[in-house]
């Protein structure tokens, strides 16, 4: 197979006269997916408040095509885990992840979700990649809306590159967990 041209659908549109352009189907699909992410905010704690700031008027996440916030996992393709996940909540998080249709991506917002943060404690999951695979980790406690947006842009790059597989290390880890029930 010949090498694929770089995926730039906008530039592929000729400037004069002609009414067609060529691209690969997967590029077009990826372009559509990355610009219409439907996030499900799994907001548990402080980060959820910053997520609210991100979607409200001042920062306006809509500029990146990710403003259709869905609270039903069946309608979402981006899971934003915003806040600390504790052991009691871990099965709930897994169930919500399992209920989302493919393709789906996960952003871990904040250090608590990424690594447990400074809660090295008896009831806190030390990073949600114990439970679900993660695509983008956004550090910060909580991350500012700009940082979250940067995370979403990074995820868009990942989607556009066609890299559908998630972080293999955490995916392997999640798969190795013995007793997580799948509904």
């Amino acid at each position: 197979m010949p090498a694929a041209p770089p995926s730039r659908p906008y530039d592929a549109m000729p400037s004069g006269g002609s009414d067609f352009f060529t691209t690969r189907l997967e590029n077009l699909v990826a372009w559509g997916r990355k610009n219409s992410l439907w996030p499900l905010p799994f907001g548990t704690a402080c980060c959820a408040i910053e997520f609210m700031s991100s979607v409200s008027s001042h920062y306006d996440l809509a500029r990146f095509g990710a403003e259709v916030v869905r609270f039903s996992p069946r309608q979402a393709d981006l899971l934003i885990v915003a806040g600390t996940v504790v052991d009691k909540l871990a099965p709930v998080l897994r169930r919500i992840y399992d209920q989302m249709p493919e393709p789906k991506w996960v952003i871990s917002m904040g250090v608590c979700a990424s690594s447990g943060g400074f809660y090295r404690a008896y009831h806190v999951v030390q990073g949600i990649d114990e439970v679900v695979p993660v695509d983008v980790y956004v550090p910060g406690c909580p991350p500012t809306p700009e940082e979250l947006m940067f995370g979403i842009i990074e995820l868009q790059k990942k989607i556009q590159s066609g890299q559908l597989s998630r972080d293999t290390r955490s995916a392997r880890f999640a798969a190795s967990l013995p007793s997580l029930p799948t509904p």
């Binding site: 704690a45 402080c46 001042h58 504790v86 052991d87 009691k88 008896y122 009831h123």
Partner: protein, 573 residues
């Protein structure tokens, strides 16, 4: 103002002893920061009823139950203690009851029938300390999941020991297991709300049995954000706890910072300079406005009014900018330190505040205009979620929810701290106790906060220190640390050992965003807290929620939950 001389408290403790001895032979009443009754577990039910009902006692509001494990605490013969804090709303007086408990199976009779608010506090003590409460209606774990083994706040429990939770360990209420049909009704349905539900604004879970749309039975489950604040605070130095306090009520972090720091300052007997104290007041009041903005904004979103959310978040964004200019963080500020603030405010602080004082009222007016005469809001707020005055006190309400039920208890006026006694402000009170009353009280409080800020800016000294100049407590200036041996030593001791808080215990209470925010701290003289218990204002609110919503529609339950303002971080700690 900050430290209370022992002589001042002698009078209430003496009165207490005199009154108790009419009923109990030889009562033990100690002098401490609060008058403290020391009782045996057998005497507790009778004592509790006496404290609540006696006309000279009238301790009608159950504030807090803190367990203490004395395993590594010198000078205490018993292994455990149950420490109760009670408030008399009519006499504005606090009292502490300490009940020593033996190792083995520590237990004392449940007082959930005396103060309904005690129900969840006892469940928490059962969960975290393994105390037994005979007579408790529903004694099971509250914060930790059911797969948890052991009792996390005992001193011999390792802080990092986790237990795996599976879906089988999640709570299923008793009524959900029962047969769902009865003779009089069609089939009823059990509905699960949460813990990941847009209307719960956090990780709460409510399981309700519906008859049609009406809730006939409900049980709520919390602990989905139990981040072990109290265990973490025992493993960190006094100042390292400040970032953890941010994350209790993360909608108004700065109030938590200040409340915690003031508790420690009063244990140390130090005083923050005037400029520092007034800056704290200004930013606390701005934080209160932010807290109410989130509460009202999110509540109105649930009832379908999205526009207000944008207006109120605009207000928050502008306050964020001010706080960011002061300390660099927007939400979790960690700006206060024991003895002052982490740094001075920027030069244009007053000008920025004044700009905010001009820009916030129009936003509030806009919201009021959209809401007050709105037909939908009227239908969903008026007469919905009614809490009477008696119920509010029995359930342990404080803050805006208590004031919306007709009790004008506000810590800023009941026991003024900082400079609140020098400001002229009202405590908004409403009698209806419904959702609309809670909305109105919060809106009025925001305007009062603006008025307090305006007055505080008038008396804010233009310059001067914000930290108390006690280098045992406050970090010395960084330049001195590099050039001056003495400062280097203070710096080293501060960082490596923590500040030396004198041994003792103290309960201090402040007006948080949604009620009386109390800190009960026990020190053994080491650089870290021996025990730190938060009295979270929304804990009793959430405990009462399952009772408020009985008989209302499921959609009204959502509106009611919003007006109570439950912040999961503070609820579960």
């Amino acid at each position: 103002m900050s430290t209370v001389a022992p002589g001042e408290l002698a009078a209430p403790a003496e009165r207490l002893r005199a009154r108790l001895s009419t009923r109990f032979p030889d009562p033990e009443v100690a002098q401490a920061d609060l008058p403290t009754i020391i009782a045996r577990p057998e005497a507790w039910p009778g004592l509790a009823a006496f404290l609540r009902d006696d006309p000279e006692m009238r301790f009608d509001l159950f504030l807090d139950l803190a367990g203490v494990d004395n395993l590594r605490r010198p000078g205490r013969p018993s292994r455990f203690e149950a420490v109760f804090h009670l408030l008399s709303t009519s006499r504005n007086e606090h009292v502490r009851v300490r009940i020593p408990l033996e190792e083995g199976r520590p237990g004392l009779a449940s007082v959930a029938s005396v103060w309904p608010a005690a129900n969840w506090f006892e469940r928490e003590a059962y969960d975290l300390f393994g105390f037994d409460f005979p007579g408790h209606p529903n004694l099971k774990r509250l914060l930790c999941h059911n797969g948890f083994v052991g009792h996390a706040l005992r001193k011999d429990y390792p802080a990092g020991q986790r237990w795996m939770c599976t879906e089988d360990d999640l709570m299923v209420p008793e009524f959900a297991r029962r047969e769902s049909e009865d003779a009089d009704h069609f089939e009823t349905v059990v509905v699960n709300l949460g813990p990941s539900h847009p209307a719960t604004h956090g990780t709460l879970r409510i399981v309700a049995r519906l008859d049609g749309e009406q809730i006939v039975e409900a049980e709520s489950e919390i602990g989905y954000l139990h981040r072990c604040f109290e265990k973490m605070s025992e493993t960190h130095t006094w100042n390292q706890v400040i970032p953890y306090t941010d994350r209790l009520n993360y909608c108004s972090s700065f109030i938590n910072n200040v409340a915690y720091c003031k508790t420690v300052e009063r244990m140390l007997g130090i005083e923050v300079p005037e400029r520092g104290a007034i800056v704290r007041t200004v930013l606390s009041e701005f934080s209160r406005i932010m807290d109410h903005c989130v509460c009202i904004g999110a509540n109105l979103v649930d009832t379908g009014a999205l526009t207000n959310f944008w207006y109120l978040f605009q207000c928050r964004e502008e306050i964020y900018s001010l706080i960011e200019a002061c300390c660099g963080a927007r939400l979790t500020v960690s700006y206060a330190r024991v003895g002052g603030l982490s740094r001075d405010v920027p030069g244009d602080f007053v000008a920025r505040c004044r700009r905010l004082l001009d820009s916030i009222p129009p936003l509030l007016d806009d919201v009021d205009k959209l809401v007050k005469k709105n037909r939908i809001i009227w239908e969903r707020f008026h007469g919905i979620g009614v809490v009477t005055r008696e119920q509010a006190i029995a359930w342990g309400f404080t803050g805006p929810c208590l004031r919306a039920s007709g009790v004008g208890y506000d810590v800023r006026q009941a026991r003024p701290y900082d400079f609140y006694d020098r400001f002229d402000f009202d405590v908004p009170v409403h009698r209806d106790g419904d959702n609309f009353a809670r909305y109105l009280v919060r809106m009025a409080e925001m305007r009062q906060s603006l008025s307090i800020i305006r007055q505080a800016l008038e008396i804010l000294p233009a310059s001067g220190p914000v930290d108390c100049p006690d280098w045992h407590v406050v970090l010395p200036p960084k330049q001195n640390v590099y050039h001056d041996m003495e400062s280097l030593i203070y710096h080293f001791k501060w960082v490596m050992e923590g500040i030396p808080v004198p041994a003792g215990e103290r309960y201090e209470w402040f007006e948080g965003g949604n009620g009386e925010l109390g800190f009960y701290a026990v020190s053994t003289g080491a650089g870290r807290p021996y025990r730190l218990k938060v009295r979270p204002p929304c804990f009793p609110l959430m405990a009462a929620f399952e009772k408020i919503i009985i008989g209302s529609k499921i959609s009204d339950a959502v509106a009611t939950l919003g007006t109570l303002n439950i912040i999961a971080g503070e609820l579960d700690r």
